[in-house]
């Protein structure tokens, strides 16, 4: 993986599934894959309940032929630790969830979940009947522009605790012991990630927490957003220094930010707006990382984002994900030609909106082989599907995808 990250030709394309919350696998698919490979039966751990991502344990990682493992924050999106596992029946599938994962099922079948597992608080997430993921319940206090205080939107950005540092150090030690590449998510450097704005991890979020209001605020309250980002950046960099002091250069890359700048057909903002509102903070974080560590900087953004790639590079990002080739202007060969020597494409391996969930295994194989032929030459490619493997994806298609990558790599695979 390190060879690929350094834009040199590796002996084979490295594969990632499960190292981050944007390259993961839905718990139902993890269970299906474990069954397919004949691994030890038993409930799968849901290590990230917001997207219901299943933990990829070492035996599955080996069976799938993966090359990367992850380091995750101590707490989940709902603010409780991913620890103290207990059984839970997820609509017919027995899984393990963290001890503080506390829910209530409504009469219509919707499942509500509570921040920090506190049932006395208002629920912060809802999984409708018919869905397989939680989404945030927006809890937006009335906004008085005269009283808006950036500190209200900074509650979640605090100095890293000793418990967090201990967890990171322990997780890194475990991850590095497996001989895999390591992608680490420390948290705190995502500037305006719309999944985090509603703060499903907080009991009483203050400030601007409504998604629509936040988007409009990037235009109408830009000074307020700058003040949030400015302070968040300072706290984040102080935390990175403390984390690096603990773990050194043991991890290969750091998940910096998952803010989406692209839609299926367009973008969420113009390039000038990006450069005015986000670029300075990315540049400072990535600049610190490059000046003080050997970590590569990982940027996730869905959608049509080719227009931002030059700015991403200039801001110090080394890796882009998920490389949504189905979005406008994201033609894979053109991306490789223009940016392949300067950006690592971590993703783009197969479409998860159409081909993987709805195609045939043969269609999956053909698309995967085409993408490998485009992205693999000269390194700079870590194979991953375009975003997480979603619930409902046929396991035979997932296996067809893995077989195709291993076929391209010239490696035998079950």
């Amino acid at each position: 993986m390190r060879t690929a990250l350094e834009h040199r030709q590796p002996d084979r394309i490295p594969l990632d599934f499960g190292s981050t919350s944007v390259t993961g696998i839905h718990v139902s698919c993890v269970a299906a894959l474990r069954h397919h490979y004949g691994l030890a039966p038993g409930p799968v751990k849901v290590h990230e309940p917001y997207q219901m991502l299943g933990l990829v344990e070492d035996d599955l990682r080996a069976a799938m032929g993966l090359d990367v493992t992850g380091v995750f924050p101590r707490k989940t999106m709902f603010g409780f630790p991913a620890a103290g596992w207990k059984e839970w029946n997820f609509r017919g599938l027995d899984v393990l969830v963290p001890g503080d994962f506390r829910t209530r099922t409504e009469p219509n079948g919707d499942i509500l979940i509570y921040p920090e597992g506190d049932r006395t608080a208002a629920p912060s997430g809802r999984m409708p009947l018919g869905s397989a993921f939680f989404d945030s319940i927006v809890r937006q206090p009335e906004i008085d522009d005269e009283k808006l205080d950036p500190a209200d939107n900074l509650e979640e950005f605090a100095p890293v605790s000793e418990a967090d540092l201990d967890h990171i150090e322990c997780s890194v030690r475990t991850a590095c012991g497996g001989g895999y590449g390591v992608a680490a998510t420390f948290g705190g450097t995502a500037f305006g990630d719309i999944a985090l704005v509603p703060a499903p991890f907080l009991k009483n979020p203050k400030g601007i927490r409504d998604v629509t209001e936040w988007y409009m605020s990037t235009r109408t309250r830009r000074g307020y957003i700058h003040r949030i980002f400015e302070r968040q950046c300072e706290i984040g960099m102080e935390n990175l220094a403390r984390i690096h002091a603990r773990i050194g250069d043991a991890v290969d890359c750091m998940f910096v930010c998952g803010t989406d700048f692209g839609t299926q057909t367009s973008a969420f903002c113009s390039v000038p707006t990006f450069r005015e509102l986000w670029f300075p903070y990315y540049q400072r974080v990535n600049g610190w990382v490059h000046a003080n560590t050997a970590w590569k900087c990982f940027k996730h953004s869905c959608g049509s984002v080719e227009r931002f790639f030059e700015s991403f590079i200039e801001a110090g990002f080394d890796i882009v994900n998920p490389v949504q080739c189905s979005a406008a202007g994201m033609e894979p060969a053109e991306l490789k030609r223009k940016y392949g020597s300067r950006l690592v494409f971590w993703g783009g391996g197969v479409d998860t909106q159409k081909t993987l969930p709805f195609g045939t295994p043969q269609e999956v194989r053909e698309e995967v082989l085409r993408r490998c032929q485009i992205f693999a030459p000269g390194g700079g490619f870590v194979f991953n599907s375009i975003h997480n493997l979603q619930a409902g994806t046929p396991v035979e298609n997932i296996v067809a995808m893995l077989r195709a990558v291993h076929e391209f790599n010239g490696v035998a695979h079950a």
Binding site: G130, Q353, Q390
Partner: protein
């Protein structure tokens, strides 16, 4: 018509306070509600055009939609009292299981700004609720939105429910959302698909005159 020029500008600039104030002033001067709607429609068409040519992005669209709604909320009761007929009546919502409604909200606003009466059922809407609303409100158009591959089948379920209820001839059904395609729309028997909010208005206008 200086008021209406200001209203046009307020919608394009996304200034909801100005849009509301100008609308109040226009009504006080005796401007007919339909004349005000006649100003909002081209303003939102222009917003759609700016979005299509990427001078506007989602935040600007949301601001313009809010400004248009601020005006429409003042005008709507007057339109109803005058018995004015909309271009068409649309029941819109995200399908069962899907809570992602930003795209749907933009489409709803663009349709309302395009002269349609919009009955917005919100997010996570079961097929029977679409049917109830379409029947009760005499809608001639139903707009379904989905963001997730896992909820896309709810679109088919909803189309099938209209068929089973014997209402398929009365309403046109249009679909949209990130993973949705024309091919999928055709496969489930929908009447139309649009990949953008502005395109949805053009599609809706086409469907209601067919």
């Amino acid at each position: 018509m200086p008021d209406l020029e200001k209203l046009h500008a307020a919608v394009i600039e996304g200034d909801w306070k100005a849009a509301a104030a100008v609308t109040h002033a226009a009504i006080a001067r005796g401007v007919a509600p339909l004349t005000i709607v006649g100003c909002l429609v081209p303003a939102m068409d222009e917003v759609g055009r700016l979005f299509e040519c990427e001078e506007y992005f989602v935040p600007e669209m949301l601001l313009s939609a809010r400004a248009m709604k601020a005006s429409m909320e003042i005008v709507r009761p007057l339109l109803a009292a005058a018995g004015a007929e909309p271009v068409g009546r649309v029941v819109i919502g995200t399908v069962k299981g899907d809570l992602h409604d930003i795209g749907k909200n933009l489409v709803a606003s663009m349709l309302e700004g395009g002269g349609f009466e919009v009955i917005d059922l919100g997010a996570d809407v079961a097929p029977e609720r679409f049917i109830e609303a379409a029947t009760a409100r005499h809608a001639n158009l139903v707009a379904l939105s989905a963001l997730l591959t896992v909820t896309m089948p709810s679109m088919k379920t909803t189309v099938d429910a209209f068929q089973a209820a014997g209402l398929r001839e009365q309403v046109k059904i249009m679909v949209g959302g990130a993973p949705v395609t024309q091919q999928y729309a055709d496969a489930i028997g929908a009447d139309g698909y649009s990949e953008s909010a502005a395109g949805a208005v053009a599609l809706a206008r086409k469907l209601v005159v067919v």
